[in-house]
């Protein structure tokens, strides 16, 4: 599977709400199963050195089966989040998929690299 971070545009103005999507693309030729609880992001890391907002996750269903997403070949599952931004900053977004649950999660990946299954190429946006 392949992870992709997308935004409507690269340049944003201060005061706008930046909307970023983290997409999971089953780029294989066989159906794949994804656990929504293992998809982390999109996570914002301000380049200015400010503290980042909380990492993005989804609420879990009590029924385990409902947490699993079945993806046919070349289909997409995704998560869209919005972030208020401050002026004159570079925003870097991260997203990644875990191999198994991990309790130590950083914006740009799990603290334990062995739990990382796939990650998106970081998305850099500019705020004017």
């Amino acid at each position: 599977m392949k992870l992709i971070l997308e935004a409507e545009k690269r340049g944003w103005r201060a005061g706008e709400t930046v909307t970023v999507s983290l997409l999971v693309h089953n780029d294989g030729f066989e159906p794949a199963v994804l656990d929504r609880r293992l998809l982390i992001g999109p996570n914002l890391m301000p380049a200015s050195g400010e503290a980042p907002p909380p990492i993005s996750v989804e609420p879990a269903f009590a029924d385990e089966e409902r947490n699993e997403i079945y993806l046919n070949p070349w289909t997409i599952y995704g998560r869209r989040r919005s972030f208020p931004v401050r002026p004159a900053d570079h925003l870097v977004f991260y997203g990644y998929l875990l191999r198994r649950p991990s309790i130590a999660l950083l914006p740009n990946g799990p603290a334990d690299p062995d739990t990382l299954l796939a990650e998106a190429e970081p998305l850099v946006l500019t705020v004017e």
Binding site: A51, R79, P84
Partner: protein, 463 residues
């Protein structure tokens, strides 16, 4: 230790001493026999009048010293003590410290780097424009072991959230509103001052201590609540810049050596008296021998001490105060786009307490030892004997205090630990119960773009 010559004290700012009619050192000793021969001083048997004469600063110090000695010999030490007590009540001490205002203002200016005193030592409020933010991740609710190891256990040993150390409460730096839910953990202590000795001039001498340590770390706790910082508020942020510390640089005062001869005489007399008393247990011969030996030894020691200059720190200076407090986030709606659960707000507070406690640990590691060094030479009674000139004594004391390096060490360590994504944030981020953004959610019929909660978070599809 008795002091014979106080007239040459001055401050580090190198301003010339106030003009006095003091003779040269040789002149002072030359004047002593004359004063001893004064027919009036011992005969003026009213205590107050004798005190007035002793306190007359127009007279040379040595002459007044001689008067005091004569009173003691003629009317006894008990009477002399009464005279000195009267002098102290009416005018303060005979001593005239030639002190002028410091060049460097004691700091109240809220500036990044403060000012410096004449020695280049940092003064004022040293702060930064960076405040510790709540950083978000998972973590145990509480100040316990966050990582399953001891990474943050240093902080965890400190009092729980809301417990305030008011060992020396101060206040003004935050500008924050009234406190919210801030229980007072400790009653203010009342210091029981332990007086030392006094010399023949009634000046306090020796170690003047108390039973309250002068630690100046103010844990202001949670000062209020505001919109979360992720939506432009102050919630989940510290109220002070990282590395912030309010310092009043030490003001060094010093005095030239009283003189080897003077020291030898005083030391010899003291040593002789002690030796005589000690030796008296062996009778008259023992008393004489003891007196001689004690006199020789005391004279030698006194000569050495008398040849050394003195430097001390002016009381009220050399203080370093660290204040840390924080603003919490609001429970529920934080503006139209963010909802924070009570658990999320509590976890935010816990995180901010980690910052406060981290700063406190760093304060304790660096500033307490500095405070001990300051206290060791605070006031003339605790003067450091070093060198043969005032300048040498001041330099030796400044080196011993190590002010700037210590303040910098605190600031650097505090910044490294508590700046956003510093060691405190990074460690807390890697803990399991920290806040996470569970995304868009309707709460009570209101739609929020973001919903902050602690794991496991809300049930999917639930209220």
């Amino acid at each position: 230790m008795a002091r014979l010559d106080q007239s040459t004290e001055h401050r580090i700012d190198r301003q010339p001493p106030a003009k006095v009619d003091a003779p040269s050192r040789a002149g002072q000793f030359a004047a002593l026999p004359q004063s001893l021969g004064s027919p009036r001083i011992a005969g003026e048997n009213t205590i107050d009048r004798q005190a007035i004469r002793l306190g007359d600063e127009r007279l040379p110090t040595a002459q007044r010293h001689g008067m005091a000695a004569q009173i003691g010999r003629v009317q006894g030490n008990r009477h002399l003590q009464k005279v000195l007590g009267s002098l102290k009540r009416n005018r303060g001490f005979i001593r005239t410290t030639r002190v002028t205002p410091a060049k460097a203002k004691t700091g109240t200016a809220h500036v990044q780097e403060g000012t410096v005193n004449a020695r280049g030592e940092k003064n004022g409020l040293l702060t930064s424009d960076v405040v510790p933010y709540r950083f978000v991740s998972g973590g145990k609710a509480g100040l316990g072991n966050l990582n399953g190891d001891d990474t943050l256990n240093e902080a965890a040993r400190f009092p729980p959230p809301g417990r305030i150390d008011r060992r020396q409460m101060a206040d003004e730096e935050t500008g924050a509103g009234p406190t919210e839910g801030v229980p007072i953990g400790e009653q203010p202590k009342t210091a029981h001052l332990q007086e030392g000795e006094v010399n023949e001039w009634g000046e306090k001498d020796g170690l003047l201590a108390s039973d309250v340590a002068p630690h100046v770390f103010v844990n202001g706790g949670k000062t209020g609540s505001d919109l979360d910082n992720t939506v432009g508020g102050r919630g989940g942020t510290g109220n002070q810049g990282v590395g912030s510390i309010h310092v009043v640089a030490p003001v060094y005062e010093s005095a030239d050596p009283p003189g080897a001869l003077s020291g030898a005489v005083r030391g010899g007399l003291t040593g002789g008296l002690i030796g005589a008393v000690t030796g008296s247990v062996f009778g008259l011969v023992g008393s004489v021998v003891g007196g001689l030996l004690g006199g020789l030894l005391g004279g030698a020691i006194g000569a050495v001490r008398g040849s050394m200059a003195r430097a001390w720190i002016r009381p009220g200076t050399g203080t370093a105060r660290v204040t840390r407090s924080y603003t919490g986030s609001l429970v529920g709606a934080n503006g139209p786009t963010l909802y924070m659960t009570p658990a999320a707000v509590t976890r935010t507070d816990v995180h901010e307490e980690l910052h406060v406690n981290s700063s406190r640990a760093i304060h304790d590691a660096h500033i307490i030892s500095l405070e001990r060094r300051i206290a060791q030479h605070l006031g003339q009674a605790n003067a450091l004997l070093a060198g043969t000139t005032k300048a040498e004594a001041e330099t030796a004391l400044s080196t011993f205090i190590n002010w700037n390096a210590t303040i910098d060490a605190f600031r650097n360590a505090d910044t490294a630990a508590n700046t956003p994504m510093g060691t405190v944030d990074t460690a807390d981020l890697a803990s399991p119960t920290f806040i996470r953004d569970y995304g868009p959610r309707a709460v009570g019929g209101v739609n929020y773009a973001r919903y902050f909660d602690t794991p496991p978070g809300p049930a999917a599809g639930g209220p």
